[in-house]
Subunit: 340 residues, 2 copies
């Protein structure tokens, strides 16, 4: 067993190498603090497509192709693509991977999807089933606004607790028997659904914070690690409001997080970009990891990261029917091989 | 390697036991030919809930609990639930598993979701990561009609090629080190997205048939098995129209299927139930397997089944934007241990 009975954390038998990563974003992200870490930031969000949904699929396809190209592998050497997005029936992903002609497994974890894809991909590789797997996730500001909130043309005001859906796609190639040294997935703590009764869809950071805290505490208990083990503990898209809340819940359980951040905090400049509580969407953690965090690891500015994409598992229907917002968070430990 | 390079099929290292299965359906399914194989068929489809979506979640929760109960395990012994459905942002599943307090991985493969859940579950168990995993999928006729087609009150006419979304949930418990002999997952052929340009959302059988044929031919080529190896090759929800099409595509490639059926054909009586081309929805393959096929295997009426849930990866948005309908099909080989 790689996992103790009752525990939520599995350790990889052999750490799984992340042999390449690619991040393509929209213009807003390209004007943000992480700009230089993205492979490309487009000038507009429509990319010449007829619809925002089709533009999202273009980000998916271009980014996965780029991640494969950067890995040095042929498309045909990819055993499987694990991916998902926020759109109804995951059409951003479907129409993005359609032409790639690889075995495909669709995932839905709302904005935690990239974590789920990396975790499942790492286990399938470590389990010996696949040699090379792509993990990917996307979102698109306009497509998400249109589907979840108001028509873009309506120009609605956004409350200060609201977050800004990141436009773009992040993708990594996970591999066994890597040629060279790469950042490696070493452990995975699977998230449970946690719902403390928040029902404000304009404050999803608060809705997801308890699930992030739940997964983080499970990770510490299962592994015996303290927060200081990691150079950085980074959630997916809690933003400024949810991030503070998660830190305070964890503190009540006796864990002091000094090395904490959130992808939604890192990706935009709160002062100059009018994005309110921060970034969100599947692409928030996906491009922050595939751009910025992967670079931190390969450049050895950091050696141990606990990457924790968060998801709010609501729909417009569930909110309209008065349901609260269930949250989930998957934690993936990614570490450099350190000379002993 | 459990898989040859370029192949889509993985063989389990040790076959993974399906130690229990549960199927709960709506009334229409309870009046069909498979009625006696279901654990329970409800008298109405609303189950006392305020909405059809909430009723779908009730089917999910009740059925997963029943599958765990039938396995003889405690809830806390389930390492992970893999599940999904057809509703926007998979709310049928989310609100169904919310109270179960187990690690959760959300999947989206449209009506192929149950196959994806079984396949991933089997690999996670065989890979040594988990001991006991639940695979589950649901759909609900009224919730699906409302979301994908017309309001129920509108009473729209349905064309003869259309299928009837199955109401209910199917769930299995996958396990290592089973006490006793159970049907076992032995192989998995991962599906690719196949889109031959069908854009008639009232003929999803035809849209999905090419993907079923593609996965089936890959399975034969990868394993060297002939159709006769299996007592039954059964697709998920191609129905009468798509099923014939899949058989004819496979025949053109030199494979003659004499032992073929489709869950959407088995579940309803075409003459008496007014369900047109057959059953569909995530629950179609999920309840047909968890009820009928699991019984065929445990009662030894069949010993080798190739179970092939099919999915149409469209949304109302993609159809309204003029997109064609991509299909996918995941094949899982399930076999009894035969005395040598």
């Amino acid at each position: 067993m790689l996992k103790k009975t009752g525990a939520q954390t599995v350790l990889m038998r052999e750490p799984v190498s992340i042999i390449s990563a690619a991040a393509i974003t929209g213009p807003q992200e390209g004007q943000g603090p992480l700009s230089r870490y993205f492979d490309r930031s487009t000038e507009d969000m429509q990319l010449g497509c007829k619809s925002w949904e089709q533009a999202e699929s273009r980000y998916v396809e271009d980014c996965i192709k780029l991640a494969i190209q950067k890995s040095g592998l042929l498309d045909t050497e990819i055993d499987c693509i694990l991916a998902g997005d926020l759109l109804n029936q995951s059409i951003g992903t479907t129409f993005g991977v359609r032409e790639l002609n690889r075995p495909f497994m669709g995932l839905f974890g709302a904005c935690s999807t990239f974590g789920l894809a990396m975790a499942l991909g790492a286990m399938l590789v470590d389990g010996g089933f696949y040699q090379h797997v792509v993990a990917s996730a996307s979102s698109h500001f306009c497509a998400a606004e249109k589907q979840f909130r108001f028509p873009m043309e309506f120009g609605s005001q956004r409350p200060p607790t609201s977050t800004w859906t990141v436009t773009g796609n992040g993708a990594v190639v996970l591999s066994r028997e890597a040629k060279g040294r790469f950042p490696r997935v070493t452990a995975y703590t699977a998230g449970k659904i946690v719902d403390l009764g928040v029902n404000d869809a304009s404050n999803m950071g608060a809705a997801m914070a308890p699930s992030a805290a739940d997964t983080l505490i499970a990770h510490f208990k299962d592994t015996g690690r303290a927060p200081e083990y990691y150079d950085l503990i980074i959630t997916g898209d809690l933003g400024h409001v949810g991030g503070e809340l998660a830190v305070s819940i964890v503190r009540e359980q006796g864990y002091c997080l000094k090395n904490y951040s959130d992808c939604g905090i890192e990706i935009f400049n709160r002062e100059t970009q009018d994005t309110h509580a921060g970034g969100s969407g599947c692409a928030c953690s996906a491009v922050t990891f595939s751009g910025y965090l992967y670079n931190c690891l390969t450049e050895k500015r950091m050696n141990k990261i606990l990457f924790m994409p968060t998801g709010a598992l609501l729909s417009t229907t569930s909110s309209q029917q008065g349901e609260t917002i269930p949250g989930i968070c998957h934690a993936i430990a990614i570490e450099n091989e350190v000379d002993s």
